[in-house]
Symmetry: D2
Subunit: 400 residues, 4 copies
């Protein structure tokens, strides 16, 4: 066993850390009362700096113009980027584009890559991933109402999706729809590229969330697909492989989510310590002198360290024995890391008192936006069930 981080990686991490600290921390408060669209010009200026520093799209292979980092290195970079809410966006590593880029590279035809991938790589357009439906639990990915019926050389898509993140302003959606209703459950759906200007595609609303109306990249769309007609060559991979493609990106996606949460937790712990050391609660007596605050710092430190080791271990295992053999780890890190992050954010707010409630720190933003971490990508409860059932198999449960 070797827990060391290669020198080369350390240097990349330090560069990212410096960029985030110097360029992104100072703009954290810009969003007060502003819509995201208003911030885009400034963020895109930051992107120019990112490109100049050679930090553009760390997760993308070099032949596609990215940094070409390995799996673990990218995971660690993701943590650094996450210390600011704008880190991933500014480096072109933001969801859902990052995932769509990955899919298009792996499953896209040359024509698809030419038309849809290129603008994502350059950052000139955005995309979205349209899977979740209001009336169907996200935890049951094979239960879905949206259909894509083949008519001649087209699919005709009908259905309603919601929480299609970043749909507002996206150039296209990758939509999950049932193409083969008679097939076995896991082979019914396909992933189909739908340009958002296709007739019948409508963004019903940006779903207001946690008090934010949402717009542009920072939005969750409710979408209606009303006889949306696209050519069959818009299907990604083989017809019926929608679920398999979704699964294939799951391991990597999970790692990046978790490392992002760890970055958020580290930032929160950093703010907690800063505040505790500086804030006086009586003349000459810092808040840091209080044992409760010390407990929170220690417990946060422990939980974050534990989470990071588990996530890196899971990444290593995926790399070495594949995602299938790493199912327990992939589910474990989901609920463990989300909890560690949210607990740390909560403690950091408490240490800040009224200031922690205010938008004068980034903590309230973490508190609001990241509560969803325990819900999307499978709620905690589903992942615990996955872990338990996987373990219980070895004990003969359920009986065959």
């Amino acid at each position: 066993m070797d827990f060391s981080i290669p020198q080369e990686t350390k240097e990349v991490l330090a560069r990212v850390r410096e960029f985030v600290t110097q360029e992104l921390y100072p703009i954290e408060k810009i969003d007060q009362g502003k819509r995201f669209g208003e911030l885009v010009p400034m963020l895109h200026e930051k992107r120019d700096k990112v490109r100049a520093l050679g930090l553009w799209q760390p997760q993308v292979p070099q032949e596609y113009g990215g940094m070409g980092l390995g799996f673990l290195d990218h995971a660690m970079v993701s943590e650094e980027l996450a210390r600011s809410p704008y880190g991933h966006y500014v480096c072109g590593a933001q969801a859902p584009d990052a995932g769509n880029i990955e899919i298009l590279i792996e499953y896209g035809t040359e024509a698809q890559r030419e038309r849809w991938l290129q603008p994502l790589l350059s950052g000139e357009s955005r995309s979205c991933f349209s899977m979740t439906e209001r009336d169907r639990p996200g935890s049951n990915p094979v239960w879905m109402d949206t259909t894509a019926v083949r008519e001649g050389d087209d699919y005709v898509i009908n259905g309603e999706k919601w929480f299609t993140t970043s749909a507002d302003g996206a150039a296209f959606a990758i939509v999950m729809a049932v193409t083969n209703p008679e097939a076995p459950p896991h082979k019914r759906a396909s992933q189909i590229i739908v340009p958002t200007d296709t007739p019948g595609f409508s963004l019903v609303r940006n779903i207001p969330c946690m008090g934010h109306v949402g717009d542009d990249w920072m939005s969750h769309g409710e979408i209606k697909y009303d006889n949306v007609r696209v050519p069959v060559e818009n299907c990604l991979g083989e017809e019926g492989s929608g679920f398999a493609i979704a699964q294939s990106r799951l391991g990597a996606g999970r790692i990046h989510h978790c490392m992002r949460w760890i970055g958020i937790a580290e930032r929160s712990l950093d703010l907690m310590c800063r505040r505790a050391a500086m804030r006086e609660i009586a003349p000459g007596e810092a808040l840091a002198s209080r044992q409760t605050v010390q407990n929170w710092i220690a417990e946060s430190r422990a939980a974050i360290d534990a989470a990071r080791l588990m996530v890196l271990n899971a990444a290593w295992k995926i790399d070495n024995v594949g995602a299938r053999e790493s199912r327990i780890e992939i589910s474990t890190i989901k609920f463990y890391t989300a909890r560690a992050m949210l607990d740390t954010v909560d403690r950091a707010i408490q240490v800040h008192g009224a200031l922690g409630i205010s938008d004068d720190t980034v903590l309230q933003s973490f508190y609001r936006h990241e509560r969803a971490a325990r819900i999307y990508d499978g709620p905690d409860e589903v992942h615990k069930r996955v872990v338990a059932r996987q373990i219980l198999k070895e004990y003969g449960y359920p009986k065959p």
Copy 2:
């Protein structure tokens, strides 16, 4: 011991419950993307209904135009009102006006009551309470920088306050300022009425909180007092009694805060159960069938019942032996009830999944706005300390 609720009280509670359910639940989603000021006209229409139903200002004595409910009855009404975020406002029982009304009735001179109390009773103007300072911990109420220096028949006030709730649009502030710097700590400050149009009074900003810019009643002001000059007759009670007055309203204020939180918790539990019973996670299988959800329902039920009994017991004790002898109870209910409420809100969100994050339910509003419950009015940690030290006295700690 007798845990029964008088029939008469039950009837009042039922009327309040019906009003809240019929008139306020339907307007819960009106705030999406709107400022509070835009909602005021509609809310004031609701106030007309409230007056017609005889539910105006339940906490105010009948001779001042309110319902004149007793302490426990008002506490229970407060729970019912809190099921909607607009309940207290619409009934004229909203903070900080309710507290200011109480103070003015108890400590105001006739002239003060005439000029400042009347418009609050009628609802035609609003007020604020200006105590918290950014650089001084709220948990240490005798450590304060704002001063009111006597010059002739005036006080000249200088200082900075923040989290002066509802300052935006208020007719006057009651400000805590040091008038007697040489007196013993608890006799240094006075409460002074300052009309907001007095020269030198400026609302620097509404402090954006939890992503909300804030305006009108729903705001937290940062205030600068720059040589603000008011006549000495604006002092409430005797000079130097600021802390004592603040203390005197503490017991009642605590009870009402806690009952409000219980109302929020009950509403959240109600939504949790509704969703669990209705949402299918597989065909024919309700979310309510999941044991984890059942655990949450049972644990929330237990915590809310426990909190309510403790709060009513504390209220009863204050009524019977006074606030001084009830210090342990008054502090215990603060941290216990805030936690019970926040846990219930959090579970309710989890049961709603993505919907719980969205503004399509009131839960996200509770989640954001009520996080402060563990901070204002003394953070949990301070109240635990108070309880422990009070108990430890009986064990000879600290040594005299």
Copy 3:
């Protein structure tokens, strides 16, 4: 609502408290390395004092020689007795005899009362209650293997029971056995009195628990019933009413369990405070100065107060509207109080450090013996389910 305790009750409680403090605390360490049987003579001397003080069998009606306390009063006395592990035994209020006395008074024929009840009232013999079976979950009381087959005027009983508490040395067992296998589930079993010297009754072993071999009253028996023949008049109540009788004592039994746990928690909190105030961790610095310890004291205080109010409220409700309408409360207090007690015991141990692990305090005894509180009489998980399902009924779950 009225939270006051009648003066008369207060006086009884004070007398009990004094007896427990004066007579029982000093003998708490007598059991080190001793079997219970060796302690019996000394404990029976204490019983003489109890009788002299008029504190014998507080729960038993005066016409049967007890104190004849009302339901709430007895509950509060039970708390006081529980501060010492020997309190209930010494006052003749120990399980399982207390429950058997209650059943015999309510359901016993005159002959049964004459023969079996009298010696329990006088304390000259003991009894046991034989229900739990190793291979059948206690949470499913209608799933039972032991049978009592009628042959002529006798029942012939066969089966195996375990955790038949206090079987060792008992004069008789009340055994639950299936008499009517074809009846609906809740009418299959009867409660039958079996003298322990009946041929075929054998105490296979005292089940060692938590490191204690167990003997005499302080034991949990594994019993074999091998063609045990008793006359049909040994049946309690009507044949098939075993479950109904068990249910009838459930409400009261629950209250007393919970009040006993509250007594244990109070004692533990008392020891925690004593130790914290006295123990120095640096010269002149008491352990009580540590905020973590203060948190524990405050949280224990809150949890115990909450538990007591809930239990007394449940008792009041049972008294006023019956156990059937109080099902939610009866289940809620089970899991809430057990948790509050065990948490307090655990914190008290931690405050005592190595001393808390040693038998020099009673805490380790609480820790070992009372862990079972979350298991017997229905595990936490079953009670949470009961509460949730009762609540969910109002929301139409499950669908009829």
Copy 4:
């Protein structure tokens, strides 16, 4: 980073696992009602098998007759041994002898090693480590009352110690005593070897703990040193180096404690799963079908995996940059692992119901004996403080 375990290590672990499973699991119930001394002959027969299998003293260098495993390998072996309460004893790796062996090898003179080390290596005698005092907090290791005053070529030792583990039957104690009262705090004490048959050394009692009287190796002694006279050459290392020596073994000792706890947790999780899969709670319905049980399995899996990664990471760091630079990790694993272990044991008991309380499984033994894990070797609270203060230094707290 590389999380793989070398093939060679895997093979050792498999051999240890097999031995523990085959030879030790079957004897787990032998202690019911027996003293440890009665078990010794049988355990020593097991030691013969251990030697035959080449598994004797895995932590001891080969030149001293042990397996000579590296630090990480030994840590992982320690986990395997801990699955049975007798694992370490049977392999000659039991505390406190293992620590004393380590000290004697590192600091002992040749004469000391000849006389005191050899019998420990062969297993023919036992030793103890006498540091803790009743009236001085273990968390403050430089506050100590026992003194060793030099008189001629002797030390004369006076004082009282308790929780001198395994003193009963030990050949010698290594005692911490103040030799240089005027030196700076960390240089006041020395470690001195005291044969237990020296006049003035008396074992006052074995302190009964958690209901166990204790004897032989499984005991905690209260010791009186009354003018105990030993030659100065019995001092280990230089006079005044007692604290430094204690510190030097701290890192390794911590790792082994933690890995032992992880072994206990793994065993408990294993029993939990076994029981859940096998136990029926309704005909055909296994306990494993309950979501609460599934949650416990998943949460235990996560916590144990997290703990193991943290402990191995700490071991790796100690190996690579030394214990001094690893202080945060060394303290973090203490409180994190103890908690993970105790939570898992507790859940396993709950899943077993009444059986979990009984001595029919090893769980109750873990529950009783391992509660001390949160106390000895520094209570959780002290380690959290250490972590927090170490972190806060980087934030300028406390101010220099």
